[in-house]
């Protein structure tokens, strides 16, 4: 589903990703872990087409297509979803209005008919239940005045409604209390299907108690320093990142 080869990316003059190779197959959940500044959030944002980063080398194939050649909206329309580390506040438009606009744009791109607000509300009902929310949240302005936890939950709600094929969660668990982590995990697990895939970018192992990954990768200094099974996450929790940073340092 996703094939990243030799990906390098910079922000301004600073190179952050220094050659990433990663393959995610349909039906899999991958965790990308690493210390602060290792480039794991950059990786997530580059995959979604964030304008702050410039890709300088490498290739990313998504379902065989050149992902890097697609505009951010085209990526979304073809099933890529990034849950933002810092979801953006948009005062002035309601959560319902924004999400329906997104939902309809994706439908339009697929050649499907747009849904009106009544039908959309019906569809929302089930998705709201998934994140344990009432309908009131939809009348509030997008993320505006939301708590940190509410913002993350709203990302999961958007994901549930837009039903992506490739979901990338950027530090969705950071700063959340254990109940919120449980809700986020439940949302992610409910959306897992044999025909989609999930990449979880996280600093902590905690979320992986609830979402069992098929593969765990550790990013250090813009490169994947180690990959392994789910037990690697536990090892990181116990030992920290220092030993990997030292190993990577020795290589550098």
């Amino acid at each position: 589903m996703l094939e990243i080869k030799g990906l390098r990316a910079s922000a301004g003059d600073k190179e952050i990703l220094k050659g990433i190779d990663l393959t995610v197959k349909v039906g899999e959940v991958h965790a990308v872990m690493g210390p602060n500044g290792s480039g794991k959030s950059t990786l997530a944002q580059v995959l979604a087409g964030h304008p702050a980063y410039e890709v300088t080398a490498g290739q990313v194939l998504y379902e065989g297509k050149d992902l890097l050649d697609m505009e951010p909206e085209e990526r979304a329309q073809s099933g890529v979803f990034l849950a933002f580390q810092y979801p953006v506040e948009i005062p002035g438009i309601s959560n319902a209005y924004f999400l329906r606009a997104a939902y309809n744009e994706i439908r339009k791109a697929k050649g499907l008919e747009e849904v009106d607000s009544m039908d959309f509300l019906d569809l929302l009902e089930e998705k709201l239940r998934l994140v344990e929310w009432g309908p009131e949240i939809m009348n509030r302005a997008v993320n505006s005045g939301f708590s940190g936890g509410e913002k993350k939950r709203n990302e999961i709600l958007q994901m549930a409604v837009l039903e992506p094929k490739l979901a990338i969660l950027d530090e969705t668990d950071s700063g959340l209390d254990i109940d919120a982590v449980r809700i986020v995990a439940r949302g992610v697990n409910a959306l897992r299907r044999p025909d989609n895939a999930t990449v979880i970018v996280t600093h902590y192992q905690r979320l992986l108690n609830y979402i069992i990954p098929d593969r765990v990768h550790v990013l250090v200094g813009g490169r994947i320093a180690k990959s392994g099974g789910k037990e690697l996450a536990l090892e990181l929790e116990a030992r920290g990142y220092e030993w990997l940073e030292e190993e990577a340092g020795a290589v550098l």
Binding site: A48, G49, H50, P51, A52, E71, P72, E73, R75, A76, Q77, F81, L82, F84, P87, V88, I90, P91, G92, I93, F98, L99, A101, A102, Y103, E105, I106, A109, A141, V142, Q158, L162
Partner: protein, 435 residues
């Protein structure tokens, strides 16, 4: 410069100045004298530095004389909103047209109608208020209004009366108005403990016509009263619009204003609010949308004369093409106005490289125990917000419109009356081309 205007409209015989009760004659005369003395403002006048009125001053203007003949309700339909039971007063080219107006069910004692008719019938009630609040010294345009006013809306809500439905004053210009000037003059008096909503709309059936509207509205909110006042300016984009809203707020009253400016080649609106009693609350919201070569100028002034009052102001602008906007926000706090809480914000969104904004807060504070803040921004849409919308599947152009609409909607949300809010949102969507 002023002579051109005088020659055409006021030849000194007094016939061009509309008739009225005896007490009004010296008031008009004084206003005319004032204007003769000052003439039109120039760029040297600080108040008009960024807004050259030469096209008005150098023009020759007939006095608009609307009849409403040939205008149908269907033609006006696009400008009428809300519920059929609202009181809608229609003025065509400056003159009230009863046949196009519709009276709603008004509470006992409420007066809502033409100012000209009220002047004929009820001169005494008007004497206390008309031209007593908006000083002719405010600007030469105010003096001209007082000298030449003919008609406009008159609303009087007696004490402890709740006007359940708003009154909508619709000033519509027709193709006949080209080359002429109208001086719509409104008087709104909300007595003690009363509650009301008033909407003023300045619209046109001749979107390409050049004409000049010189509007003045005087508002008095009695003790413990509540008033929502919305002003929607959608003149021809070749027209000149100069307006003053002057508000006197008595103690414990709540006044909220929303001023929307979309039309006019040059559109200037002054909103002056005097807080002449304690515990007054004043909310001033504004939104201007300009494109092409339009110039929208908003000057607001709030006079904190008494202690324990709160004023809250947010004006936002969205500018495209080579259009310009001017914002000047004055806050005066007298020495006795302790515990004043005043906040002013002006935010501008530029949609092009060539649009320009001059924004200036002007705070003069003579009391020491007050909370006064102000802030102004001029900027573009946030890249990260654009990316956020695009990352959800919304194409770039649509994401821009969506965020621009959100910028406007954030201030429109402050309007209390839902049908008015809906109409303002519709106007913004229509302008931006969003659905």
């Amino acid at each position: 410069m002023s002579q051109t205007y005088l020659r055409k409209t006021g030849d000194g015989s007094g016939t061009a100045m509309a008739e009225g009760p005896d007490w009004l004659e010296p008031v008009r005369r004084a206003a005319m004298d004032r204007f003769t003395e000052t003439g039109f403002p120039t760029a040297r006048d600080e108040e008009w530095r960024f807004t050259p009125v030469a096209p008005i001053a150098q023009g020759t203007w007939r006095e608009a004389a609307g009849t409403g003949r040939g205008i149908t309700r269907e033609q006006l339909a696009p400008f009428i909103f809300g519920h059929p039971e609202w009181t809608t007063l229609v003025f065509v080219d400056g003159v009230y047209v009863e046949a196009l107006s519709s009276g709603g069910a008004l509470a006992a004692g409420v007066r809502a109608g033409s100012l000209a008719a009220a002047l004929r019938a009820d001169g005494n009630l008007l004497e206390k208020h008309l031209a007593r609040h908006a000083p002719i010294e405010t600007s030469p345009f105010t003096a001209l209004s007082t000298a030449f006013m003919r008609d406009g809306g008159f609303l009087h809500v007696p004490a402890n009366t709740d006007l359940s439905q708003p009154v909508h004053l619709v000033f519509v210009t027709t193709a006949e108005v080209a080359g002429s000037v109208a001086h719509p003059r409104n008087l709104v008096v909300i007595e003690r403990g009363a509650r009301a909503s008033v909407i003023e709309s300045y619209v046109t059936l001749a979107p390409g016509a050049t004409y000049w509207t010189n509007a003045v509205t005087e508002v008095v909110t009695g003790p413990n009263s509540w008033l929502e006042h919305t002003r929607i300016q959608r003149e021809s984009e070749r027209a000149y619009h100069v307006g003053l809203t002057h508000v006197e707020q008595q103690r414990d009253s709540h006044y909220r204003s929303f001023s929307m400016a979309m039309g006019g080649a040059l559109a200037r609106h002054n909103l002056h609010v005097r807080l002449s009693g304690e515990n007054v609350e004043t909310l001033m919201y504004g939104l201007y949308l300009t494109r092409g070569e339009q110039l929208a100028d908003n000057h607001t002034a709030i006079y904190h004369d008494q202690p324990n009052c709160r004023s809250w102001e947010v004006y936002k602008g969205i500018l495209d093409d080579r259009s310009r906007a001017v914002f000047n926000g004055k806050v005066f706090v007298k020495p006795e106005a302790q515990k004043t809480d005043a906040k002013q914000t002006n935010r501008n969104l530029l949609l092009s490289d060539t649009a320009k904004v001059n924004t200036k807060p002007q705070l003069e504070i003579f009391a020491d125990d007050v909370k006064c803040t102000h802030g102004a921004t001029v900027g573009r849409l946030d890249d990260i917000a654009l990316f956020y919308a695009r990352s959800r599947g919304v194409p770039a152009a649509e994401a821009q419109r969506l965020l621009t609409y959100a910028f406007a909607a954030e201030v429109i949300e402050e309007v209390a009356l839902e049908p008015v809010r809906d109409e303002l949102e519709r106007l913004v969507r229509e302008r931006l081309g969003t659905v």
